[in-house]
Symmetry: C2
Subunit: 198 residues, 2 copies
């Protein structure tokens, strides 16, 4: 058992690891506490409920992921390369899963959206926010690529960005149900088609 | 209480209705029986477990949906119109949901894939089969459209068909989490982009 301040972080870390694999309903507070090495009493000192933990789990995952996405942009040159870097970073989580455990666990946000959209309004609001921010990041790059004359096609930047996020979520779902990481290789070629690139 | 032969069908009907909304884990056998007006003892006369019921629920839903998809093809003329009819039929379930209840419940197969892929191997095998059959139906039309010189683009018929299924699943997920049916209007324009049409 570490210091109290560590306990909260350990609970959040365990929740992120377990929730993506096991989902929301099947995952109990006791299991999260056991994995985190924290007593159940401590859990309720930090979080009001599993729902409250889930909101913070989504927030924490997205804060970290957004940081990785922003970092991925710095290494790329020009809006099209940046779009590709962003998309590769978004699906990189799945490749890393497969590399480490031999199993694609899917997208935390997509998994939760499919499972609890109608049951947990506060979780749902956070998921909408995460998808909106992903769409905004992509739409910004699509607008830059279009201004630079690098992509053609029709559709507003936001509609195209939503199409890319949908393509990623759908492909990750299909890759997960088959546990086949090679399906992820199609995301960028399909993004090029959606954007009228290449 | 109807005849015994009805009880099985009523359990399956209730399961299809409830599982798409409530998911797998949160839905209990007792709730399904209550909705179906069937005693719990009867349930276990017909089904070994909730897992066994879920396998039959997926099979039953897909058998009926495939019939609707095939019927939608008969009213359409030529492979591109048929592709559009097929896609509109696949997302029509969501529009019907919204029209009837004001809520988009998502795709039964996608919801289950996101929730139980790693926990219920038999359910997963059925989901893979359903997605494979959807891909095959679309790939057949893509091949016909290509032979007729109606679509250009690169990519094998099956890869393009998978891209369309992924676009549908991803868009339905985003439409569900926002409960916004207007997002579904983008599926066909995005299908055109993926296929190099229009």
């Amino acid at each position: 058992m570490g210091r109290t301040s560590d306990a909260r972080d350990r609970i959040l870390d365990s929740s992120r690891r377990l929730m993506r694999t096991r989902g929301y309903t099947a995952l109990g507070v006791a299991e999260i506490c056991a994995e985190a090495g924290v007593k159940k009493g401590s859990f309720y000192h930090f979080f009001d409920s599993k729902q409250a933990l889930t909101v913070e789990t989504v927030d924490g995952q997205w804060t970290e992921e957004r940081r990785s996405l922003e970092a991925s942009l710095e290494d790329a040159d020009g809006p099209v390369d940046r779009l590709r870097a962003l998309i590769e970073c978004l699906i990189g989580v799945q490749r890393a899963d497969y590399g480490e455990s031999g199993t694609i666990h899917g997208c935390l946000y997509g998994n939760l959206a499919a499972e609890v959209s109608e049951r947990e309004p506060e979780v749902r609001r956070r998921l909408v926010l995460v998808f909106d921010e992903q769409v905004d990041m992509i739409a910004d790059l699509v607008a830059r690529a279009r201004s630079a004359g690098l992509i053609g096609g029709t559709g507003t930047e936001h509609a195209l960005a939503r199409a890319l996020v949908a393509q990623i979520e759908g492909t990750v779902l299909l890759a997960r149900v088959r546990n086949d990481p090679t399906l992820l290789d199609d995301v960028w070629p399909n993004a090029e088609r959606l954007l009228g690139l290449g």
